[in-house]
């Protein structure tokens, strides 16, 4: 599939995928990155995304689903615009990750894998994110925030609310 034909993805991402499948000794090696990058743009792995990825690589949709269901970052339904991932694994737990997670639940009014009604935030309790020495740590989408206390929670959330409002204004202008 070339970037000129019908695609779900932006021209930039479609072009990136065209290059990605040619990069490896076998096309299929592009599968996992392609799924993650597609999710980054579309928000989740919709049926249409799965169909297009399968076609681009030349494998069945079932094959794609089989692989996608293995990886914990890949999802089959939308998350919030900002996906808050709170690590509660041992190093974070020892430094108060559960208090932090509770505060996020209270502030957002949602639990594990919940999405706020405005679609702005989702929340997940996640396994170790590799920030053990700067615990407790979270990721919002791909952004790390570390050495947190529950007192940081409202500031972090309002930061992202502000970011979303700013983007909204720019796109309406």
């Amino acid at each position: 599939m070339s970037s000129e034909t019908m695609t779900l993805f932006s021209p930039q991402l479609a072009a990136r995928f065209d290059a990605l499948v040619e990069k490896y000794p076998v096309r299929r090696s592009a599968l996992v990155p392609m799924l993650l990058y597609a999710q980054d743009e579309i928000g989740y792995l919709s049926d249409a995304v799965i169909a297009e990825v399968a076609e681009r690589i030349g494998i069945t949709e079932l094959d794609v689903r089989n692989v996608a269901s293995y990886y914990s970052m890949l999802r089959f339904k939308p998350a919030g615009k900002y996906n808050v991932q709170v690590c509660t694994n041992i190093s974070c737990m020892l430094r108060g990750a559960y208090d932090l997670y509770e505060r996020f639940q209270e502030e957002l009014g949602i639990g594990h894998k919940g999405v706020t009604s405005d679609g702005l935030f989702s929340l997940e309790e996640v396994e170790c994110i590799g920030a053990c020495c700067w615990a407790p740590a979270i990721q919002v989408n791909y952004e790390f925030h570390d050495e947190l206390t529950p007192e940081h929670v409202s500031g972090i959330l309002s930061g992202y609310r502000g970011k979303a409002a700013l983007e909204g204004r720019t796109s309406n202008a």
Partner: protein, 436 residues
């Protein structure tokens, strides 16, 4: 941004460019970067492997296999292309050292990959980072592009007739993919399910070709071994344990952080002097010495314990990934054991039944136990289950789940007994852990 720490006892080899702006290629070159790769290009594969053997560098991912020996297993002649694979899937709880390497010294990873490629006669290397490390992947991608622009990677590296290419790859969330054969499956676009061994990757690896797979820290150490010489590197550590190691000290210490210390450094000193001791004036209860899969050690067991693969092994645990998790006396060990097993239950790929069922039953038993609904026979059952998982799976995940559980039950049996008969957990704050 992860905070950098330092201590006078540190011997900075791998971390010496941290905080020096070395992610920029010009700065890396200014600091002596890519000289080791050039030297290896002149000296050839046999020389490289001899230097690596002399260095006593052992795999930093956890298993501690001698790097030079691993490289020497790759057949010189092969009908299929050979590959170098860098494991940056860093996911062992308690471990965040590769995070700093990718952030501060990405070119060291590239240079180490080139050298490994020269040593085994590979023309292509892959650098695989866990999906959560997107910002680090972007740093690595920029570094790779810059290395291509300089001619350090490509068809004719450093102006020679030798080809070496590098491809960066992202994962998408899976601890299991840190296991070498599962990582190869993932890179081939499949579920990260482990392969049966033998054949080992050095003979049949990625795409069926001979493959060297090394942890990112191991690879980032290689240029330094070449620069200082294998014998000099070995001289920093203890016998059979060459060099330094990036120890990530986390948990209840005053100054958590990643510290580079010589192999064999005393664990007690590491906790009390380097990391400033236990925070809040509390007492040390236990230490997990090398990432969540390594059996717990008691305060009396660390008195004279040198942190190298052999000494920690002799003490009944493992040096593992170098992630030292420090636990104070206000912590419930049953809860800690439960959080540990919850992780392995979540991450088990389900391929091998003892691991899939064992982690699930252990989680169920420990959940019930911690909530105060345990029975005396459960303690023995937990131990029995864990013992029967050991050595019965394709990959080490089953062992990684069973080993720490056995440690907790054996060394803290009394604390398990204190939870019996519906008595509330003496430490309980979070009676029920959220189910991931």
């Amino acid at each position: 941004m992860p905070r950098l720490v330092s201590h006078p006892d540190e011997v900075k080899v791998v971390s010496k460019r941290f905080g020096q702006g070395a992610a920029k290629i010009e700065r890396y070159i200014e600091l002596g970067g890519y000289e080791s790769a050039k030297k290896c290009l002149e000296q050839g594969p046999d020389w490289i492997i001899e230097e690596m053997k002399a260095s006593n560098l052992r795999g930093r991912g956890g298993a501690g296999f001698p790097t030079g020996l691993k490289w020497s297993f790759v057949p010189k002649k092969s009908d299929k292309p050979k590959y170098v694979l860098v494991n940056g899937d860093e996911s062992e709880p308690g471990t965040c050292k590769d995070h700093l390497i990718f952030l501060h010294d990405p070119h060291a990873v590239i240079e180490g990959t080139i050298i490994a490629g020269l040593a085994i006669g590979a023309k292509l290397g892959f650098i695989y980072l866990r999906g959560e490390y997107r910002y680090l992947l972007e740093i690595m991608e920029k570094a790779v592009a810059d290395a291509y622009a300089k001619g350090f990677l490509g068809k004719k590296i450093f102006g020679s007739d030798t080809e070496f290419q590098v491809i960066t790859q992202t994962g998408a969330g899976a601890y299991e993919v840190g296991e070498e054969s599962a990582l190869m499956e993932s890179l081939e676009g499949k579920r990260g399910v482990p392969r049966i061994k033998p054949p080992f990757p050095a003979v049949v690896g990625l795409y069926g070709g001979p493959t060297v797979i090394n942890n990112a820290e191991t690879i980032a150490t290689v240029p330094h071994v070449i620069a200082m010489g294998g014998v000099a590197f070995a001289g920093i550590g203890t016998p059979r344990n060459g060099g330094t190691r990036l120890f990530g000290i986390s948990g209840h210490v005053q100054r958590p952080g990643v510290y580079e210390l010589p192999m064999g450094y005393n664990l007690k000193k590491m906790i009390y002097e380097v990391a400033g001791g236990i925070r809040g004036g509390r007492q040390l209860k236990a230490v997990v010495p090398g990432g969540s899969s390594t059996p717990v050690l008691l305060p009396e067991e660390i008195e004279n314990l040198g942190m190298d693969f052999d000494q920690v092994g002799k003490a009944g645990s493992m040096l593992g990934s170098g992630g030292v998790v420090v636990i104070d006396d206000q912590t419930c060990i049953v809860e800690f054991a439960l959080r540990t097993i919850s992780f392995y239950q979540h991450e088990s790929c389900g391929w091998c039944i003892p691991c899939r069922e064992g982690t699930d039953w252990l989680k169920k038993s420990l959940t019930r136990f911690h909530a105060g609904f345990g029975e005396a026979k459960d303690i023995d059952n937990i131990q029995y289950l864990a013992e029967n998982m050991m050595g019965r799976t394709f990959c080490p995940l089953g062992d990684a789940a069973a080993m720490p559980t056995l440690g907790f039950v054996k060394k803290f049996r009394k604390e398990f007994e204190d939870h019996l008969n519906g008595r509330p957990c003496p430490f309980a704050k979070h009676v029920e852990l959220a189910v991931i």
